[in-house]
Structure formats: structure tokens, C-alpha cells
Amino acid sequence: MKPEESATTGADLLVKALIDEEVEVVFGYPGGAVLPIYDSLFKQNRLRHILVRHEQAAVHAAEGYARSTGKVGVVLVTSGPGATNAVTGLTDALMDSIPIVCLTGQVPTHLIGNDAFQEADTTGITRPCTKHNYLVKAVADLPRSVHEAFYVARSGRPGPVVIDLPKDVLMNKHDYVAPQKPIEHKSYKPRTKPDRALLHQAIELMAKAKRPVFYTGGGVINSGPNASRLLTQFVHMTGFPITNTLMGLGAFPASDPQFVGMLGMHGTYEANLAMYNCDVLINIGARFDDRITGKLAEFSPNSTKIHIDIDPSSINKNVRVDLPIVGDARRALKGLIDIWQKKQPRTDQKALKAWWKQIDEWRGRNCLAYKQDAETIKPQYALERLYHHIKDRDHYITTEVGQHQMWAAQFLKFEKPNHWMTSGGLGTMGYGFPAAIGVQIAHPDALVIDVAGEASIMMNIQELSTAAQYRLPVKIFILNNQYMGMVRQWQELLHGGRYSESYSEALPDFVKLADAFGATGLRCTDPAKLDETIQQMLAIEGPVIVDVAVDKAENCFPMIPSGAAHYDMLLGPADRAARPVSEEGMVLV
């Protein structure tokens, strides 16, 4: 047999292993060290390769794919700069617990450590930004490493896994070993089954609650669509109010009367005050992030806290809880429903009624109110109109990072899980557009919209070329205020209005830019023409950039200034001068 006819080079084994893991799409960019893999890809038609224009975008696209499908997103990049470019995406996936397997090329084993061309210490660099990583030094270890990587990436609290593949390993030959199912790992054993006795205790606490609130996060989404269904069922059974984190939006239908909106720094007045005043707090799959808690010493000071999380290290990290339960959200919810149904606890209806009355009073403040005039488009208005036109269509929303992201979270309504992808933990500008590409690849017929700011979109604008190549009808909806809006807002509120370097100088003409990449560009500056522009965008079949000129000075409210407590919210521009931010708060981001 001639060598080129052999089907068992490391690269071929890799492709076979990916197919066995039911991978359909790989987002990548070729280079010297991964040429054998690209050669193997060329010779088959089971795996589809999507060529991005920058490796960071490959990871974000894989994240979008993973978050909208629940599958593992797969990335393929070359050694050195290919791997280092992927680092931001990997960190993003780690922070938001997104299952990713990233294959990186590496110089041949005998050159490792010699500062060879395009060599980087990839496992060293990615160690703190992955759930786990592998350097495969022998072709015999390759298939096992791949199967193990997929298992680690998708099980427990999901996350990114890197497999570093030296070029000689990709070219050496070996027999393929199919994965063993179910995989038993000798040391990695995530705890998914919650302790039944603790679930009983949780139900007892909930049954006695006078002012309860559910606070749920991305863990429910990661646990699969069934977890969201069970959450909805359980929240309905109890009649308690529920708030979601930025990552958890969509796990409970936003239109449901029991939903009090998102909580946290830019959350609703009613959600944050419910958190502050509650007596029993039920956290499912959220991690008491600093954007949620505000001032820790005054975070929900009088509540008994129940925390259900699959990751034991998330428990008692920032906030000490009274009843920690380690387990998968879906299994925990199933158990809770089961116990509730059996016990039929008699909740304190009088107290709950008073609690809802209080919440409705807070709701009455209408904390998301804004004033639209005939002159300039308010960003909130643009999003309300956008939602009006898309709400009856199957749609997925991604965002970049900043004011537009928070407005999107506030003004778009999320009824279903896996339809909202945003960079929550890392806050990566440039996330939304490549993520939208990944979503569109997974759902070719769906409406995918990247809500963007004019500054963020510039960070991965090169991906217009990818969208054009694959004819992906992604819609980029830019709220253009000519500022890095959130930076400008903080400079206004915290730094005496000294807008240091936050003006978006020398912006491109987005309409012409779209044209240059074979997409369609639309611009809207007049509130009266906004509906027409959105309808036009939705009618166009290919990729569209909509440049919406919005009010440059609009700030995102409500806002809990950094270092402040939940009750200390700024509700609008009039609030701003009353309470200067403490020095303690100034150092926080």
C-alpha cells in the first residue's frame, strides 16, 4: 500500500474521531502546522468546514453554534498565532461555560521548545483559559484524547478544551480506536445527581417563605431545554416571582406575569428590590457574579439562600449560602417538582399576596421608561420596534458588548432558551457577529440578528467576508451613537464627563462597507422611518447591515453604580447627581 492510500494517519484518525463524536461543522483557519488535517478534510464530505477570517471569530462562531444547539462547538486553528488568536474566544467560553473543543496545530514534537517558526506554548498559554487541555505527543493517544476532550467539554459544567496536535503526530500512522460509551474518566467525575434529602429541605424552606424569589442563570440553559421547561413548570406550581441573569434569559418566558425581568447592574427595579427584600432566595444555575450582587455586604441581607449548582466551586465563592445543593439543574428541578407534588405544601398565601402587591408597586415605577421624540431615535425605541417586527418569527439574537447589549437584554423578550447569545462573563466586544454566523450555520432558515454597537462591530468586521462566502443572511443591527457608549456613560457618571478616547472617530460608511463585502447596507436617522427600515432589513434575503443613528447621549438605566447596593439604583438622568459613587466603588469595573 502506498503511504498516501493509508487511511490511518493521525490527521485521518482525528477526522474519524470527530465524525464519531457526531461533529457536523468545524470553524477554522488553515496554516502550516494543520495542513495534514486540512488534507484529511479535503478527502471527505461528512465534516463541513467554515472558513472564518480570524481565529477569535472561529471560537465565537463555535460558541454561537454550541449555545443555539446544545452541541459541542468545534474549532480548528494552526500553531502559534492561530492558537494565540483563539485565546480570547476560549476565555469567553470558559467564563460563560460553553462547550468547545479547539484543535490547535503545533510544531513537530522534536522542535517543541526550540522557538521554532509559529511555535507557541499553547498548552501553557491556554491552561488558565480552558477547562482542560491536552498536548498529544504520540499518535496512539490521539483518538482517546479527542473522545476524552469531548466528554470533558460537554459534561458537568461545560467549558472549552484545547487539544494541541504536533505536526508529526498528525502524519504518523496508527489504528483507530473507537470511543467507549459511556466514558468513564478515572479522575474527572462531575456530580450531576442532587442529594434528595437536601431537595426536601429546599422544599421545606420554600413552603414557609413569605417573600421568596427565584434567581436563575445560564446553568439552566446549559442543562438543556428540558431544564427550562421544568423550571417554568415549577415556578408556576409555586407561584413565586422569578428573575433571570443575563446568561439565563429565555429559561423562563419573559412574557409570563411571574417574570420580574433581568436582575443586576442594569436589571429592573422590581427584580433588584425583590432580591434585596426577599426572605428565601432560590438560586438555580447562577453564580452570584459581581454584576448581580452589587455591594456584597448588602446583598439580599435577610434571606435564607438555597443554591443549586453543578460546580461545587461556585458555591460559597462570593456569597455564603444556607443550603448548597450540588447537581444538574434539570435533575434538581425534576426532584423539586416531584417532592412538591407529593407533599402539596401549603404556602402562606396571605404573605405571598402581599409580596406580589409589593412587587407590582415596584413594577409601577416603570423603570425602563424613556422618552421618544420626533427628532432622534432612542436606542430603546429602536429595539422595541425591532422586537415588534420579529416576535412572530423564529429568531435568534446575539449581541456585542456595551449599552446596546444591556438594552437588548431589557427590551427584547426571550421566550425560549438557546435563542439569546451574549458574552456575559468576559464581556468580549466583537463577540456578536461571529457568534451570529455560528448560529446561522446551525439554523440556516432562522432569522439571526446581531444587535451591535458601532464600536463593537468594528472588532470582528472582517467576518463580513465569511458571511458573504457562505451566503449567511445574518442581520447586523447597529445602534450607532458614535461613542463607545458604556465607556462614555461611565465617564459621564464617574469621571466628570471627560470623554477620554471614547468617541468613535473616523467611522466607516457602514452602507458602503456592506456593499464592499457583497452585503446590503441600510441607514436610518429618522424615527418615522425606523419601521420601514426594519421591514426592509427583514425582507432582504442576504446579509444586511442596518446603521441606526441613535441618540448619542442616551444612558442605560436603571443602573446600580459599582459598589452600590440593590436599593441604590439610578433610575434615570435625574438621579445622577444625588449620590456620588464611593471611592470603594470607583476601583470596581
Partner: protein
């Protein structure tokens, strides 16, 4: 509130494992007072890492949870919380002196049951084993008697009684 804990971690002896553990401590701002590592089970390729760290109870709990989250970590045991255990440290202590000081160094070494493992006409290298306190006090005494060099292993520890970790 801050107290010292001795944590025993059983890990796969694979490349990069120490970097994972140490990187976790530096990345999350925990402190390491002492760290020892060596393979303890060649057949199963397992190493035992003994870490002495200090923190509030909440931080210690977090350190253990974070260690347990590393994929190649099999077991994490807080020996300080899990009942009686013993700790030992070994130090090599080099002393250069002559006359009365040299004699005194040798006599104290005897008191501490330190062994002479190298001797020249003007120097000794002592090997001393014991708790950190004992090693500290031996070194303290030697500093007045011509101490020139110290090498310490850091703490290794084990639970009392017949049970394995």
C-alpha cells in the same frame, strides 16, 4: 479568621499537572506556604502534592473546590480538618565555623538528632527532620554558629492510623 491548612492532593503524574495546581493558586490569588510533590504510585502513575496554604474558612473551602475541579485531580483532602495527622519536613543545613562554635554546632545537632552527612575541616552539612517548628528552631540556633546555606523540602503529611487517603 485566617488559618493554615495542610492539603493533600492525589493527582495523575502527567506533564503540566504541577503548573495547573500552581497556576490555580497564582491566578486566584491564594498563597502557598509550602508545596511538595513526587510520584507515590508508579503503577497507576499517581503523584501526591502536599500544599500548606492559609486563608479564611471560606477561602480554604474555595481552594479545595477549585483543586477538585482540575481534571487530573483524583482526591483532595484537608488534613487539618480531617482529624489527627502528622507532618514532617527535612532540611539540609550547612554551617561553616571553627573552634568552640564548631563544637557547639555538632553538640546541638546531636540534641536535635540531626545527622552529619558531609564534613570538611571547616564545615558540616546537617540533615534534620521533624516538624516545621523543630526545623525552624534548629536553623535559628545554627544562625549564630556559622550558618551559610539551607535547603528545605517543605511539608509532607499523612493521616494517623491505618487508612489510606
Amino acid at each position: 479568621m485566617t488559618s493554615s491548612h495542610t492539603i493533600s492532593v492525589l493527582v495523575d503524574n502527567e506533564p503540566g499537572i504541577l503548573a495547573r495546581v500552581v497556576g490555580l493558586f497564582t491566578g486566584r490569588g491564594y498563597n502557598i506556604e509550602s508545596l511538595t510533590v513526587a510520584e507515590t504510585n508508579a503503577a497507576e502513575k499517581l503523584s501526591r502534592i502536599t500544599i500548606v496554604t492559609a486563608g479564611t474558612p471560606m477561602v480554604i473551602e474555595q481552594i479545595k473546590a477549585q483543586l477538585d475541579r482540575l481534571v487530573p485531580v483524583h482526591k483532595v483532602h484537608d488534613l487539618t480538618l480531617e482529624g489527627a495527622h502528622i507532618e514532617r519536613e527535612l532540611a539540609l543545613v550547612k554551617v561553616r565555623s571553627s573552634g568552640e562554635k564548631r563544637v557547639e554546632a555538632l553538640r546541638l545537632a546531636n540534641v536535635f538528632r540531626a545527622k552529619v552527612i558531609d564534613a570538611k575541616t571547616d564545615s558540616f552539612v546537617f540533615e534534620v527532620t521533624g516538624t516545621t517548628d523543630k526545623v525552624d528552631s534548629f536553623i535559628g540556633l545554627m544562625s549564630a554558629l556559622g550558618l551559610v546555606d539551607i535547603g528545605r523540602t517543605g511539608i509532607v503529611a499523612m493521616t494517623r492510623g491505618g487508612e489510606a487517603l
